[in-house]
Symmetry: C2
């Protein structure tokens, strides 16, 4: 007997996935574009030296419920993308390739089907001891589209910039924050724990 009986909600059990770190990147300059680095040094505030590090951040267009610039907790310390999804975005955008740096990713991984669909509260346990916790899907924006259009040289850059947010939806990876600090190196194995899931249905 427990709460499950009441809601008649189907509970999908926790899942385990595995992945590999293909590259690590940091935004060491003044904008969100990243560059490849040898390692990611993580504290509880995020990536040392990265513009997104901090216990807090300022709100923007993703948080229409706040005045722009409101100080809020920083659940977006890291951006994670996958080889497989970047290849798919490239195909849909009709460009030869999409580099993680162009859209500000910090971590490129391989081996996880549909990375962007890995749900909130999932944990990524890295071989060398780091844990990051997934906040959720990273919604693609015009700023990333503009950077992609500038770097990838599509036939029509203006159209590409505009199309990116729709094309990359549910393919643009995840944002996460540091649960357990340390160092992430390319080539590390990652064990992923996807928690129990269900669909919230207030009426049931």
């Amino acid at each position: 007997v427990n709460g499950l009986d009441r809601t008649e909600t189907e509970i999908h059990p926790a899942q385990k996935l595995s992945a590999r770190v293909e590259g690590v990147f940091a935004a060491l300059g003044e904008n969100f574009v990243t560059q490849q680095v040898e390692a990611l040094e993580l504290t509880f505030e995020g990536i040392v030296g990265d513009i997104h590090a901090g216990h807090t951040r300022r709100s923007g267009g993703r948080e229409p419920w706040y005045p722009r610039g409101t100080e809020m907790a920083n659940e977006r310390q890291l951006s994670i993308v996958s080889d497989e999804e970047l290849a798919r975005i490239a195909g849909l955008m009709e460009v030869p390739l999409v580099r993680p740096e162009w859209i500000g990713a910090n971590l490129l991984i391989s081996g996880v089907p549909a990375l962007s669909m890995v749900p909130p509260r999932s944990q990524f346990f890295f071989e060398n001891g780091v844990t990051i916790r997934i906040d959720g899907q990273n919604a693609p924006c015009r700023v990333a589209g503009r950077s992609l259009a500038r770097h990838a040289a599509p036939a029509d850059p203006s159209a590409a910039e505009l199309r990116f947010p729709a094309v990359a939806k549910r393919l643009r990876g995840l944002v996460a924050w540091v649960e357990k600090p340390g160092r992430i190196l390319p080539g590390e194995r990652v064990s992923i724990r996807v928690p129990e899931q269900w669909i919230y249905r207030p009426g049931s």
Copy 2:
């Protein structure tokens, strides 16, 4: 065209719920039992003066993947329970009532069906300006069961302590962290945003 086509995953749209704050409580002593307070003062570290406040915490039995006492990010700053679920736990435990204080809750709310099923990444926007973000379900433990058994005087306290974790599963509310600080007062209205949901199916 977007990632959704690939996975053939059913996406359930975001939902809005509303609730009311029925009481606020803090653990001002040396253990997790809370006492009613006039207001909750929140910073980015949690409730001022509460033993669970902090950017980090020490791991315990809920994190079998870490040695006990490992420093980790504190996603458990607040414990939230509902009138409706506490009444149901009381019924199942065969005691007259279950007070939020006995199981260490910080926030008692009413009006949300199946509070414990509100999923990770949901946001609670309080009338006076605070936002908290849901990490997820709070798993009931023996420690809370012991406290309940001591306070509620069931017919067989030892049996009650043992039964609590199973009985209160999916009824014990949520844990959350502060996204936007401020003050929470009894009687405030709460607007809840449940994000898009889906079930992760790697094979699809």
